[in-house]
């Protein structure tokens, strides 16, 4: 069934036990983003030092797709340089457009099914957009 394509086991696992959920207590970049069409919102915090994302945590309200995507994204970008993180984000957008089926992170690849549910792509990209916004702020400041 198509639904099983969307709601893969890994996604449900991240939804039920999100990684990196919470807040950071030291000097951080904080980004609040929401999805005005549905009311989902995310607060993403990142600590970026010397161009490297040292830690990332998120909090917010959302559906299984947006929460699991935030969980996976924060896991993937931790320890990466801003440039690397933006490259991953770029490949993630391509996957959402259906231009890319394989992903270097198995968990994230599970989100490829979202592509067949156009109304849900925004849920999956919310956390990634927050990350992009946060890193751009960090490089411009």
């Amino acid at each position: 069934m198509l639904l099983d394509d969307l709601y893969r086991r890994v996604i449900m696992d991240h939804y039920k036990n999100p990684r990196n959920r919470g807040t950071l207590d030291h000097d951080v970049i904080t980004i609040n983003l929401n999805n005005p069409t549905c009311g989902d919102r995310i607060t993403l915090q990142m600590q970026i030092e010397d161009g490297v994302i040292q830690s990332a945590k998120f909090d917010g309200e959302g559906c299984s797709i947006s929460i699991s995507s935030a969980s996976m994204m924060t896991d993937a970008v931790k320890g990466k340089t801003v440039k690397e993180a933006l490259e991953i984000a770029d490949r993630f957008s391509k996957m959402m457009q259906g231009e890319l089926q394989e992903f270097e992170y198995e968990d994230i690849e599970a989100l490829s099914g979202v592509n067949k549910f156009p109304a849900r792509i925004k849920c999956a990209t919310l956390a990634w957009n927050a990350m992009k916004k946060g890193t751009t702020n960090s490089t411009s400041s």
Binding site: L3, Y15, G39, S64
Partner: protein, 408 residues
């Protein structure tokens, strides 16, 4: 009223979605259109498309008659005294914006009050916020009771002699609350305030009589009452409309134009600058014929029966929360299921061909009042049947199972 027969007149409802016969439960967002409306729009484009109020030619007269006939039809439908009190707009949103930008700007200033409720749709909230910012007027809110209704004592306490405008939704698109408009009008008028009614969710479902309500302005939306998208109506009391300035200027709305000054046509045309919504008005007129043939009371009764039937079944489900008053409500049910986010719920039931709405329903302050970020909503119309409700319940059960299995 036979919903199964009525349903036959809606071509779109005959399709399968994701391999299942479509169950459309999102009429509060927009209703479907019967063949007669689709045909009326086609007939206009195929038979007498022409600009109105201009040409001398035959098609032009036919188009003008149809457009002005639609105005008469709307006037009768909501029992306006004169057709000239009916202004065609792009939708309910534009109708409310017209009142705020024209009447509102002329009467509001620092120290004046605009009274609203927290259950307003963004369309009946943001125009007033903007007006308050522009004029220095203050926004005030009538608080909601726990069940999502308003208490007339609070209405009395909130409206004062400083209140210039009270703007309120007649039927809430989230809670299903039916507000006591006549009493609110009476209280507003006692303080010299004017009442603006958002009739987007009332006009499609209950018989409306603007003279009995005694409201000063009434906005309605064509696409929610079986009419085409892109058309709505502003009704206003004649003396108010006459004193109001247009907010759109151009062709059609003018009387005499000089290089440095111009004068306007009389009501209602001074508010309808540019080529109007001719095909849309013709479609709306056919939609009103369709509603009148069934009868608004029959439609309301049918929806009440369906909502009651659905409510009985839904309240029995584990982990369900239903928002809004339990009785005296309209034919829609807004709810949440424990452990299933409304988007996930809407996606799962969509896989079974069932269309429901998930999100904030353009009522973010109300979502905050309910203390949720979003909700699911099933809304009924005359073409829905008990079978549709049964399918919805099956869908909800499947979604619960699916998520408890998937989460494990």
């Amino acid at each position: 009223m036979n919903a199964h027969q009525i349903r036959e007149q809606f071509p779109i409802l005959k399709q399968h979605v994701n391999g299942h016969p479509l169950v459309y439960l999102d009429s509060a967002a927009t209703s479907q259109k019967p063949s007669s409306v689709i045909q009326a729009v086609t007939d206009y484009y195929e038979g007498y498309n022409a600009n109105v109020h201009r040409g001398v030619h035959t098609l032009g007269s036919k188009a003008t008659d149809a457009y002005e006939g639609a105005r008469d039809k709307v006037a009768q439908f909501i029992n306006a005294e004169f057709s000239s009190q009916i202004i065609f707009t792009r939708g309910a949103t534009s109708a409310i914006n017209l009142v705020a930008s024209s009447y509102g700007v002329s009467v509001c200033g620092p120290g004046d009050e605009i009274v609203l409720t927290p259950m307003e749709h963004h369309s009946n909230l943001i125009p007033w916020q903007q007006l308050a910012k522009k004029t220095g007027a203050t926004l005030k809110y009538i608080p909601l009771q726990d069940d999502g209704t308003i208490d007339l004592k609070d209405v009395e306490a909130t409206i004062t002699d400083q209140t210039k405008i009270v703007a309120m939704v007649y039927v809430s698109n989230v809670l299903g609350t039916i507000n006591p408009m006549e009493q609110v009008a009476e209280i507003a008028h006692r303080h010299g305030a004017k009442l603006v009614v958002d009739g987007s969710q009332s006009t499609p479902h209950i018989a409306v009589d603007v003279q009995q309500l005694d409201c000063d302005f009434y906005a309605l939306s064509g696409h929610k009452m079986c009419g085409p998208t892109g058309i709505g109506v502003l009704y206003g009391k004649k003396d108010l409309l006459e004193q109001m300035e247009p907010i759109e200027f151009g062709g059609e709305m003018i009387d005499h134009v000089d290089l440095f000054d111009s004068t306007w046509k009389e009501l209602p045309w001074k508010f309808e600058g540019g080529t109007p919504l001719i095909a849309e008005a013709v479609g709306l007129s056919a939609a009103i014929d369709f509603l009148n043939d069934i009868g608004m009371d029959a439609i309301h009764q049918h929806e009440m029966q369906l909502a009651h039937y659905a409510m009985e079944k839904m309240t029995k489900m584990d982990g369900i929360e239903i928002y809004g008053p339990k009785t005296e409500r309209s034919g829609l049910i807004t709810f949440n299921l424990a452990d299933v986010h409304p988007h996930d719920l809407a996606t799962v039931v969509d896989a079974y061909g069932i269309a429901i709405r998930a999100g904030h329903h353009c009522c973010q302050p109300l979502m905050r009042w309910l203390n949720v970020s979003s909700t699911a909503r099933a809304s009924f119309y005359m073409y829905n049947t008990e079978d549709d409700v049964d399918r919805l319940i099956e869908g909800l059960v499947k979604a619960k199972e699916y998520f408890s299995d998937a989460i494990g």
